[in-house]
Symmetry: none
């Protein structure tokens, strides 16, 4: 951004439907879920008060993960800033990261004579993983003055955070990534990380000693070592007190990493709206995250994705009734049902404002392609939202 950001109380709401974008489906009259969905509220908003366009999350042809997808939406260059895999894992488990902490994804694994014979310990049950994590927490709460926090995930998975002074995440994974390969220790990528590697390896040694009678789950693998990125906090960058409202912990966590606040953890859309209403006066920016569209896309379930959009449509009037200056409806990436996964396709974008400008068209991929906003990089969306929010100075005399 090149123009100064003005602090004012104009409200900007981002309603992010995860994996929203899709492609025409041959099994559904070549419609997309967004075209097939009966969504009178979003369409009225678009026709009366909205302009349309598309965003490219990272680059043409590039399929983003959730980290880069959201970083771009919030105006951070996803090629410059990175949110590590370990961080996403612990955020997804609702664990709290502080500056300097090292997060990693953990697996219980089967190790025989120094060879990793099963990277998932026979996919042990979640209850057993819980018990093992509790034992590890109790027996080895810290090592060399570094506190270790672990939390069980699903099946053989767990999240782990090392909390201490002077740690570095310049580490190779302690995971051979393939089975029937020798077990590997965390290795420093640079001299700065030598001490951290020693501490983590000492921890792993003690854990494996603790687990030695556990049969299939007698080993642990750690990967994706990462610290919180050194990233300018969102509320300062844009001069907006910012609130994240999301049912999934990972997205609340992502928002927290960027300096947004989380007031409550909503269980459903109804609670999301209550939280928005209750705290509307105290914030200027609101990030509302909807996961169900992405889940349905990943499942390749066209009807379910269509229904997910229809359900979101019902809460849109509650948001618009609060009279935000700007309401952005978009996704962090596309998750086409036909591909059953994230994709590189541009993402439909709707910017609704109270100023009367409109493309006068319902909201879906085909109209977004012809929308007046054009196809822009997602990282430029925040600048546009600030412009519509009257939060940007003129550039130059």
């Amino acid at each position: 951004m090149t123009a100064g950001v003005l602090a004012n109380d104009n409200k900007i709401v981002f309603l992010v439907l995860d994996g929203l974008g899709d492609v025409p489906h041959p099994g559904h009259s070549f419609l997309t879920p967004l075209e097939a969905a009966i969504k009178p509220n979003i369409d009225r908003l678009a026709v009366e008060s909205g302009v349309l366009g598309r965003t490219i999350p990272v680059g043409i042809g590039i399929t983003p993960g959730s980290g880069p997808g959201h970083l771009s939406l919030f105006g951070y260059d996803p090629l410059r800033y990175e949110i590590g895999r370990g961080i996403l894992e612990v955020l997804g488990l609702d664990m709290d990261m502080a500056a300097g902490d090292i997060a990693a994804r953990g697996n219980f694994a089967t190790v025989q004579d120094g060879i990793v014979v099963d990277r998932r310990a026979g996919r042990i049950e979640t209850s057993r993983t819980r018990r093992l994590c509790e034992e590890m927490s109790r027996s080895i709460p810290e090592i060399d003055g570094v506190k270790v926090v672990i939390k069980a995930g699903v099946s053989h998975r767990f999240g782990i955070i090392f909390k201490g002074e002077g740690l570095s995440d310049e580490l190779e994974d302690a995971d051979p990534h393939k089975e029937h390969m020798p077990f590997v220790w965390a290795a420093p990528k640079s001299p700065t990380a030598e001490r951290t590697a020693r501490i983590i390896n000492a921890y792993m040694e003690r854990v494996m000693d603790l687990l030695k009678a556990e049969g299939a789950a007698n080993g642990v693998l750690l990967r994706g070592f990462s610290q919180s990125p050194d990233i300018p906090p969102f509320p300062e960058k844009y001069r907006m007190d910012s609130l994240a409202v999301a049912t999934y912990p990972m997205y609340r966590g992502l928002a927290k990493v960027l300096g947004m606040k989380v007031e409550k953890e909503p269980a459903d859309y109804g609670e999301m709206i209550s939280i928005l209403r209750e705290h509307y006066d105290r914030y200027q920016f609101f990030f509302m995250h909807i996961k169900e569209t992405d889940v349905a896309g990943e499942d390749g379930n066209f009807e379910e994705k269509t229904r997910a959009i229809e359900i979101v449509d019902r809460i849109v009037p509650d948001i618009w009734a609060l009279a935000p200056r700007v309401l952005v409806v978009t996704g962090d990436h596309s998750t086409p049902c036909m591909l059953k996964g994230h994709s590189w396709h541009p993402v439909p974008l709707l910017i609704a404002t109270n100023m009367g400008e409109t493309d006068a068209k319902p909201f879906h991929e085909r109209n977004c392609l012809k929308g007046s906003l054009g196809t822009i990089y997602a990282k430029e969306l925040m600048t546009l939202a600030l412009a519509y929010g009257s939060k940007l100075d003129k550039y130059g005399a």
Copy 2:
């Protein structure tokens, strides 16, 4: 630009309608002024000989001032080059800048016991400002070998130029920017500017001594100290002798800063056409600037902006009759009536050529959105104009 520029006598005319771009107006059947205007000549040109597109003046969501708006149109990266506030002020007063000169905007102000109690001296009358400026010119024509040129503007405003060797514009404003704050002197931002600051402050001291009996107008404030940017001259960059034809002094001045010539100062569109005709053979590039569209937009006057376009339409056949190789019709930025000010919205672009290529559509925002030129950064327009003007070498073998 990546390809070599060829010198030839093919003519390129830029007809720049300031603030041309607009958004659909709810009070006018959701039309824009460009859609509502009856402009048979421009539309015939577009349909028979024109291709359409849109330009982004500086960046997505970025609202440009006149300086960056025009720099981009002329192919200069507005993030790299800057035309200072002081320069725009003195150019607007039709004062001449030379390389090394320092320009600033001046206010007469009321200063009591070192406090600026009124930054505009009670908005004194223009006639009084004229008298005071004349007195200052006569009494203090120079200081420390630096010549001082001043010219009255409207009400309490004046433009001032310091002419001498080794001056620097690395100066903080001699203006507290708020009332009831202590008067401040020009302060150097770097050691290079220390001498310039001393000279300017000595000048201000003498001026205030001169004005001490003037009551409300007993002080002066100076801001926006700036030198001509170190910018490659337009005629050399593009190998075209270049003529600016504009009724408003600021735009003639801007063109002069870029090395374009000004033959005469036209009072109206009729004179603009005469100047164009008279000097058509001696130049290759012509910058014709129309201010009225922007003025109407700033006033939020839809009918007036529509009429301004209709009036410009009448001179288009006179330009086209000269058979330029390329006639570009566009704006330096959008000034939507609904916003009553400059905005970030992409600007409609028409390139008419004598080669027969056409999108076969009338010229307005909606058609430009779908035009074959696409949406491009304004700084890329000159390259496109040169290409249509057969003035660019092939790039690579």
